[in-house]
Symmetry: C2
Subunit: 375 residues, 2 copies
C-alpha cells in the first residue's frame, strides 16, 4: 500500500516567454509534492516526466487504491528516491493533458479553446516554467533534478539553463538529441493524427469528436519502439491469439502481439489528447543543446556545474546506451563529476520504468550519497 | 542502357487450392523472361519479389528509358545473374497490383471486384502458382530460385515444397519467419489502412476513393524499417529542411527526414493497392515453415535438397543476420551444402537492392559456379 498523494495547482498570471518567440500567460501548473522540505530548503528533488506521464509520480489518490503514480517503484518512503529524506516535486508540463494548461483549455487572449493554436513548447520552456514553480515554492536550489527519456532531457537542460540551481542531475534512458530515426517515428505518429479526418486541423473539440484512429496508430508505433525485440519475442513471440491454426484474415486479430497493441492503442485513445501528442513529440524533436554550438556537445555542456548520474539500458534502441555515452563523454571533456551505469535489462526503453535490481540499486546508492551530502 | 523487357501474361483457368482452404480460379500471372532457355531446359532462374516489386525484374520497357526493373543491377547481360547464360523469369505474385490477378480484379464467381474478398494468399500459395507457370513454360527444374526479403522466403519455400525442382536456392536478407516486432510493424501499417475512412471495408473501388492516408502511414513505417539508423543519420541527420532556425510548428515539415518520408509516402499512395498491402504483409506474417514441426527449423528444412547461398546485411534490423544464421544452422544440421555471406553494408534492409561491391561479387561468383555446373 502506497501513501496518499494530493494533486495541487499553481496559477501563473504573468506571461512566460517561449523559445518560439510566442508567450503564454495566465496558465496553471498541476503538481504534487511528497515528503517534507527541510529547514534549509536543501532537500528538494524535481522529477520531470516523459511523453504520457504527469505530475502524479508516486503514491495513490484517496479512495483510489489502483492509482499509483507512474514512478511509484522509484519514489516514496524507503524507495530509491526516499521521501523520508527528500522533498520530491512532480510537475505536469505545459501543453500536457493531465491538469496543467494545455490545448484543451481556453486561450485568455481569444476566449476560444487553444486546440492547434496552443504555442509550441520546448524542453527549455518547460524548464523555465518549472523554475517559476520552484520560485513560488521557495526553493532556490535543487538537491537533484531527475528524469527518464524526455524527462532526462529536461534534467540535462536544467543543468544548462540554471546551473547554480542544480546540485545533481540524474539523466536516465535519455539522449542529447533525437536521431533521424527517432524523428521519423515521431513524424509518422503525428501524420497519423493530423490526417485523421476527426482531427479537424487540431480544433476537434468544437466538433465533439476525437481523432482516435490517429491516436491509436501513434500509440502502437510508440509501444513498438519502447520495447526490445527480445522482450516482444519472449512475451508474445508468434503466438496466435486464441487458436492453434491461423484463420487467414487480413483484418482480424491473428497474433497475440496484435491483440496487445490494439488494446494498448484503444486505452490510450480514450484518455490522451491529440494536440498534446503533437506538442510533446515536437519538444523531443527540437531538443538539441549542441545545435547552437555547431553540434559540439562538449561546448554545449560547458555551463553545467552539477554532478551527474547517467543510466542507460542495453536493449533500449530508442535511446541507445551510445547516446548516453555521448553525454558522459561531453561532461568528462568538461571535467565534470559523472557516474554512469549501463544496465543489462531486457526491456528496451521501457526498462527505465520497471523494477530491475541493478538499476534500483544504482539509483538508491546515488540518492543515498546525495542525502549524506545534505546531512 | 539496359535491354528491352516485354511483360507477358499467362491465364490459368483451373482452380488453385490455397493454404487457407479457399481457392482461386480463372486467374492471370504477369511475368517476364530474359535470356534464352537452353536446349536441356536447365538454365532457368526464377526471381521472386518482395513487398512492392513485381515481375519487372530487369531491363526497360520500349520507349520508357527510366523504367528499369527493380533488380536491374543484379540481373541482365553481364550482370551477376547473367542473362547471357541464364533464362531468368520474373513473376508477379497473386494478389499483387502490378498485373497478376489481385483485389482490384473481378471475382469470376460473383462478377464483382474482389476488394477485401480476395482470398488470403501465402508464400506457399505463391510458390504453387509459380510452379504452375513453370509447368506451362516447360521448365521441370530450376537452376536456381532467388529472392530477397519476402522473395527469399519464397526461395526457401521452393526448396521445401518442390525440392526436386530446385538445384540452388539463393535467399537474401530474409528470415525463417517474422519476429513479434516485425509482425507488430505490419499490424500498425494494416490498422492505418483499414481504419482510414476511405477504405470502406476493403471495397473502396466502388466508392471511387483510395485510402491514401492509410497507405501513406504504412509506407512511412516501412521506409523507416528498411533503412538503418546509421544511414538515416548520414543522409538526413537532424537537418532542417530549408532554413537554419526551426519555425516551431507541429504540423509543418521541419526536418529533412520528414520531407523525405512524406514524399515517399505520397508517391506510394498514388500507385499501390491497399488490399494488396494487407495481403502481402499477411503473407509475411504467416510464413513459418517450422510451425508444423513444433518450432524446430532443422526438422522443417529436412526436405530441402538444393544447394544454398544465404546473404545477410549487418545493419539490417528488419531481417537481421541472426535470422539468416538460423537458416544456415538448420541446413547444416541436415548436412546440406550452404554458403553464407554477411555483408557489412550500411544501408539496412534496403542493402539487398543496392550496389555493394562485396555483395555483388558474392552473387556473381555463386551464379558463375552454377553456370559452370550446367556447362
Amino acid at each position: 500500500m502506497s501513501f496518499i498523494a494530493t494533486p495541487q495547482t499553481m496559477h501563473f498570471p504573468e506571461a512566460l516567454p517561449l523559445q518560439s518567440g510566442a508567450s503564454i500567460r495566465d496558465y496553471h501548473l498541476a503538481y504534487e509534492t511528497y515528503g517534507t522540505l527541510d529547514a534549509a530548503r536543501s532537500n528538494a528533488v524535481l522529477v520531470c516526466h516523459a511523453l504520457n506521464a504527469s505530475h502524479h509520480v508516486a503514491g495513490v489518490y484517496e479512495g483510489q487504491p489502483n492509482s499509483e503514480g507512474w514512478w511509484d517503484n522509484m519514489v516514496g518512503p524507503g524507495k530509491p528516491v526516499d521521501t523520508n529524506r527528500f522533498f520530491v516535486i512532480g510537475v505536469n508540463n505545459l501543453g500536457s493533458c493531465f491538469g496543467s494548461t494545455g490545448p484543451m483549455h481556453r486561450n485568455p487572449d481569444t476566449g476560444r479553446i487553444y486546440g492547434a493554436d496552443f504555442p509550441v513548447v520546448t524542453v527549455e520552456d518547460w524548464v523555465n516554467a518549472q523554475a517559476r514553480l520552484l520560485d513560488r515554492l521557495g526553493i532556490e536550489r535543487l538537491a537533484a533534478v531527475l528524469g527518464g527519456s524526455l524527462g532526462g532531457m529536461q534534467a540535462l537542460s536544467w543543468s544548462l539553463q540554471y546551473p547554480e540551481r542544480v546540485r545533481h542531475a540524474v539523466v536516465v534512458a535519455s539522449a542529447p538529441n533525437l536521431t533521424a530515426e527517432n524523428i521519423a517515428f515521431n513524424e509518422v505518429a503525428r501524420r497519423a493524427i493530423v490526417t485523421d479526418p476527426d482531427f479537424h486541423g487540431g480544433h476537434f473539440y468544437q466538433y465533439g469528436v476525437v481523432p482516435k484512429r490517429g491516436l491509436r496508430i501513434a500509440r502502437m508505433i510508440g509501444h513498438i519502439t519502447y520495447l526490445s525485440d527480445d522482450v516482444m519475442n519472449a512475451k508474445f513471440g508468434r503466438q496466435l491469439r486464441d487458436r492453434l491454426e491461423p484463420k487467414y484474415s487480413t483484418q482480424d486479430i491473428e497474433f497475440q502481439i496484435e491483440s496487445y497493441l490494439r488494446h494498448q492503442a484503444d486505452k490510450f485513445s480514450e484518455y490522451f489528447d491529440a494536440n498534446t501528442y503533437l506538442l510533446i513529440t515536437r519538444a523531443l524533436d527540437y531538443f538539441d543543446p549542441a545545435r547552437r554550438h555547431g553540434g559540439n556537445l562538449s561546448l554545449a555542456l560547458a555551463p553545467a556545474t552539477a554532478k551527474f548520474l547517467l543510466v542507460s539500458f542495453k536493449t533500449d534502441w530508442r535511446f541507445a546506451p551510445a547516446r548516453s555515452r555521448e553525454i558522459v563523454k561531453a561532461l568528462l571533456d568538461n571535467k565534470r563529476s559523472v557516474s554512469y551505469a549501463e544496465i543489462d535489462a531486457p526491456h528496451g526503453h521501457d526498462a527505465f520504468l520497471l523494477d530491475d535490481a541493478r538499476y534500483m540499486s544504482v539509483m538508491r546508492s546515488y540518492f543515498d550519497s546525495i542525502a549524506k551530502e545534505l546531512a
